[in-house]
């Protein structure tokens, strides 16, 4: 028989306390009635966060489902976060790009999206002189553009070439994705969506209009779809030899699963 999972021991006290407090609040509200209704915190949307270190957000790319020539994820990211090029590939910002791989021996080829890998030990954070590059508690690596001085050390340090420097004036930014000349930027894993309980735009778009090759979820939760799939596929970390433990994992079809 399957038992319902018992709540973690350290949560039970909190839970009981919360219920007690909720009860107390209800009694207080009742005693204030009739006629008089105090609306303060209830009306305003309750703040969310802070990001929890219990979760580690990650992406799994199943390149068996990643279609050749499809760039729906890139398109979705561009629209969601408002980064556009000026037709100058050397300096245009790029948060996500499609990469084609070819096995020289057999001739087999794959395409994969490549973006910030949200490393557990991010070299971009190590080298940042101002502390603008940082790793959030839930594993998302971000740039605090308020204090980024645009030195581009992080771009040098990143082995995935994931970061871009904004060389030109920016207009028409998205409200949730501020971008400005003179700062470095990269994939945020759509942190604004995650904080609202959603999934990244690329994952949504790939599921809707692409091959459904992207899975988003909590790598720390062994029951999550991403964790189960990553284990089943023995998904690889790109440049695993560097020991950075990226949160973006790749499934390459036909590749022997090594345990």
């Amino acid at each position: 028989m399957k038992m319902p999972p018992s709540p973690p021991a350290n949560n039970t006290v909190d839970g009981a306390r919360r219920r007690l407090l909720a009860g107390a609040a209800a009694i207080a509200t009742l005693s204030l009635a009739p006629g008089v209704v105090l609306i303060t915190a209830a009306e305003a949307k309750a703040p969310t966060g802070p990001a929890s270190a219990k979760v580690r957000w990650g992406l799994l790319v199943d390149s068996a489902k990643c279609g050749d020539g499809c760039d729906v994820c890139v398109d979705a990211c561009r629209t969601e976060n408002g980064w556009t090029g000026h037709g100058r590939p050397r300096t245009d910002p790029q948060w996500i790009r499609m990469v084609s791989l070819r096995e020289p021996a057999g001739g087999a080829s794959w395409t994969l999206p490549m973006m910030c890998q949200h490393c557990r030990f991010p070299p971009c954070v190590d080298v940042c002189p101002t502390g603008a590059s940082f790793r959030r508690a839930d594993g998302i690596v971000l740039v605090d553009k308020h204090i980024c001085i645009g030195c581009r050390y992080c771009m040098m340090a990143c082995p995935y070439n994931a970061r871009s420097f904004v060389h030109e004036d920016v207009a028409e930014q998205r409200p949730h994705a501020p971008r400005g000349k003179g700062t470095v930027e990269s994939c945020t894993l759509c942190v604004h969506r995650i904080d609202a309980g959603g999934i990244p735009a690329c994952v949504e778009a790939c599921g809707r209009a692409g091959g459904g090759a992207l899975t988003f979820g909590d790598l720390n939760d062994p029951d999550s779809e991403i964790a189960r799939r990553a284990a089943a596929y023995a998904a690889v970390r790109v440049r695993a030899d560097l020991g950075l433990d990226p949160a973006v994992r790749y499934h390459i079809p036909g590749r022997a699963a090594k345990r």
Partner: protein, 165 residues
């Protein structure tokens, strides 16, 4: 020769005389100015009756409210607290003066007035958009046309070719 100590006094006296004489037609015309030169700020009116804090404290402390909270939002992911630049924009983005019919809104007529007067450069909107959220959302991501439609277009194209002599 004027001693340096007298200089400010002399300048003040000159200024007073000039002001009394109403020097400069601008000064006489410009009733919206304290010193006759710099026009007083006239921030555009925002939506609603009042701001989230009393006007006086918003004027004095808005930058502190925002700066404190932005760090918590960016670094810890705490969202939905009381102060937010998005909320500022939601109420204070208005059409450019003289272009009330314009579709694009901007906070310049609100923020720009005092910031120009005080000569304090505002950097927020170098990176943040000054368009309200719903306005910007309208151009959000749409699913690209599916293969069917491409095929349909191709079919129509080929059909047209066949029909033409």
């Amino acid at each position: 020769m004027t001693r340096p100590r007298d200089l400010p006094r002399r300048l003040a006296a000159t200024l007073a005389v000039l002001l009394l004489c109403g020097v400069g037609a601008d000064a006489a015309d410009n009733k919206d100015s304290i010193d006759g030169r710099v026009p007083l700020p006239r921030p555009a009116k925002g939506k609603g009756e009042s701001c989230i804090e009393p006007t006086a404290s918003m004027r004095r402390y808005h930058m502190d409210y925002l700066a404190h909270q932005r760090d918590e939002t960016v670094r810890q992911g705490i969202r939905g607290r009381k102060y937010s630049l998005k909320e500022c924009v939601a109420c204070h983005a208005v059409p450019e003066p003289g272009q009330e019919e314009a579709k694009t809104l901007t906070v310049e007529p609100f923020c720009g007035q005092c910031h120009t007067y005080a000569a304090v450069r505002i950097d927020c909107f170098e990176c943040h958009t000054d368009k309200p959220v719903d306005k910007a959302r309208r151009t959000g991501w749409q699913a690209p046309p599916q293969k069917e439609s491409r095929r349909a277009r191709l079919g129509a194209h080929l059909g047209a070719l066949e029909r033409s002599p």
